[in-house]
Symmetry: C2
Subunit: 454 residues, 2 copies
């Protein structure tokens, strides 16, 4: 009997093979996966996941977990020799505890479904990112997803109170804690969050909920320099207690997307544009305070111009420029790089990086945007004459500069397969050796997501 | 040559033995340590710590790290066979980066020294607890210290961006990251934070700083029931964006400490008293808003009475009751238990726990207080006829009820030696086995803080 026969015997028709396997299991959103896996298992319980892993571990069979397949680092690509565990059927919210302010949720639940359930109960689930409609909670946790509300509510890691995961050998580690403070031995949830499926399979989680804001105020500001931008960020952090987004766009990025969306906000495209958003408590004076705050920043010359959204529609028009969906369709072979740098260095880094890329690729589009308050910069790159080697050359140029600035080659996308060769640009040999030691301890047969991360 | 001779030869006169060793190295603040260690090493660099660990590891010599010795779980007690590494001379702030909002600090730096340095630079270091004058940053991190500002700024883990630690074999793991988002492989800092010195020695850290509040408003509120208290907490969280403390006192606790301090706040001692504190931005209207908020809660019958501190002195008088220093001197053999429960269950838990303790110890003082917003309850227990077995009997009674409520036997004090026998009340066999697996991977010879935590 082959391992696939074993799995079918133990788990029945939740094990798909051959033509039963859908095309989508080939690759995550990086579109770099080429092959379909040898089998896809679609469990509906943690016990089924444990059984599958136990059998695979005993047979040395490699396993790749797939969620919403929205990752950009190739972390969920399986290849033809792996068995895939797809969490798409292990969905649902098991409990919302309004007094503890927690939600217990299964890993396959789409993020947006969980967000809506929280809202229906009067709470905010602060984990939020562009792919909310298709990404799944398990994948959000496995990659420690970042997103647009980190400034106020922290990264995904900070919003997970309890976790259940299955080890490579099929052991279920159930730590579905609902308490904020819990210092009873090692914090096991931390081992699995952000490990991209290489140390265990996340099956359920207790997420922290926050009060639902009564609304939001949104402004689009024009600035003259990166130094002004940092000064403005500092002031926003000190004076706007409900500050929930601070999204910066460099001139090129803003111009491209405003023109693509046929939107005109300022007389001239400014060197920097920033979306500032504040969560509201529902007090009538908050709008006046926001206007006064921006007026003062204008008077002091920290910002050059400011528009406050007068409607939900206008707020969405600001965000449409920031989200830049037009780039996907209009720029060929678009690459979105994701790096972190100390906040004070981002301006110089972007200038240096832009010059280096333009020197090597004179015809390329290069633009910058990002969650500057979280030290996170994205780079949009598109080369009309791109070939198979281009992405790797771009990575090499950018990550070499990241290394010199002591930055991180992955702020929020993870390492997956695509960034693995560059991990030593952000991590020392001692750190890498310790990661390998941890991997060997938790997955001694090396069956979980092989070749990913380390 | 003995290992102590080896250490002296390699490290010189930073190695103390015999009468050179101070009495304080016998025990942490639980006063349960009985013996002096065989040597005390007082390094002033990470390199010296690495050398000491390498030699000890090669010789199977056990090592206990000591910081400010303010722990309450026996975690830093050494015993006569261990070598102590005392971090008291490895102090100092290496850098404050105002743009990144970070402080890089050595592990032996007292918390209060770091707090003051942050303030001098216009920032708040939000890690804060009663022992701030003597506890050290390294110990705060090694125990994932909680404290009174968790509600607004998170536990210590959430305020650490970068970490340097030395492994048992002397390898220095330097991850002094200054970025909020960094998803480059496993998050190694998480392995050391909260591991109580059993997985490595924390030597330096990058801490996250926040804007320094312009001031604080403090109120003392009287409430009739635990349900009201939870409703009031929910309302505070939704309506006070700068909420930075919510400290609950049960009737017995409030009565004892108010009388001990000769302070009278309300006509009668209420069933529950709560200190609410709000960080200010410096806007003149904030005080009015705070008063209006409390007035509305009074009108709605959620609170029965409220006093707003009119001066720093009055605010300190509220806090003096909460801090309860009078108990230390007036109650014999005082025990301070530290547990976590889901917020909605704390009222019933306290009632049940109080009844069980009073039944077994009819003459004992039993009272409750805590950081309810963080799901954290403290229990003050004092038995006049206490003997050596009493603390263990009390632990047994309380932790058995904690187990039934699916709570945590340690919210913020850690496990150390004193809670180790009860760890299975909050952790499953699978979780404990995984902790042992991690311990074996990181410290295969078992030299680091032996017998602690697991």
């Amino acid at each position: 009997m082959t391992i696939v026969d074993d799995l079918k015997q133990a788990l029945g028709d939740i094990v798909l093979t051959g033509t039963q396997i859908g095309e989508r299991h080939r690759s995550d959103a990086s579109l770099t996966g080429r092959e379909l896996p040898k089998a896809v298992i679609r469990p509906t319980s943690s016990g089924e996941i444990a059984t599958a892993l136990r059998l695979c571990n005993e047979n040395g069979q490699t396993v790749v977990v797939q969620g919403g397949l929205t990752g950009l680092a190739g972390g969920a690509n399986a290849g033809k020799d792996a068995v895939v565990i797809s969490l798409e059927r292990y969905t649902g919210i098991e409990e919302i505890d309004p007094q503890a302010g927690t939600m217990t949720v299964r890993a396959g639940t789409p993020l947006e479904v969980a967000q809506r359930a929280a809202e229906d109960a009067g709470f905010l689930l602060p984990i939020d990112l562009g792919a909310r409609g298709s990404c799944q909670i398990g994948g959000n946790l496995a990659t420690n997803a970042g997103g647009i509300r980190v400034l106020r509510y922290g990264v995904t890691r900070d919003n997970v109170l309890g976790l259940e995961a299955v080890l490579a050998d099929g052991t279920i580690i159930s730590s579905l804690n609902k308490m904020i403070k819990n210092n009873t031995g090692y914090d096991l949830r931390q081992f699995f969050i952000g490990s991209e499926g290489t140390l265990g399979v996340i099956t359920r989680a207790v997420l922290r909920l926050r009060p639902l804001p009564a609304g939001r105020l949104t402004a689009l500001c024009a600035l003259e320099s990166y130094d002004d931008l940092v000064a403005f960020l500092t002031r926003c952090q000190r004076r706007l207690p409900g500050l929930s987004a601070f999204e910066a766009m460099w001139e090129n990025y803003f111009r491209f997307n405003a023109e693509a969306e046929k939107l005109k906000f300022f007389d001239e495209i400014p060197p920097f544009a920033v979306i500032v958003e504040q969560d509201l408590l529902g007090d009538a004076s908050e709008r006046d305070g926001f206007e006064a705050f921006l007026g003062e920043a204008l008077e002091d010359g920290i910002i050059a111009d400011a528009l406050i959204a007068q409607s939900e529609k206008e707020s969405r028009s600001f965000w449409s420029v920031r989200e830049g969906h037009a780039m996907d369709s209009q720029l060929p072979a678009l690459v979105n790089l994701d790096v972190s740098l100390p906040i004070g260095d981002i301006g110089r880094f972007a200038a240096e990086c832009g010059a280096a890329l333009s020197q090597r690729f004179p015809a390329a589009h290069v633009s910058f945007f990002g969650h500057v308050a979280d030290s996170n910069l994205h780079i949009a790159f598109s080369e009309p004459d791109s070939d198979a080697d281009t992405p790797h050359i771009v990575d090499g140029i950018v990550y070499e500069i990241v290394r010199r600035y002591k930055g991180s080659i992955s702020a929020e996308h993870g390492i997956g397969t695509l960034k693995r060769d560059f991990l030593d640009h952000s991590r020392s040999p001692a750190e890498l050796e310790l990661m390998h030691r941890i991997k060997r301890a938790l997955d001694p047969n090396g069956i979980l997501n092989p070749g990913k991360v380390i």
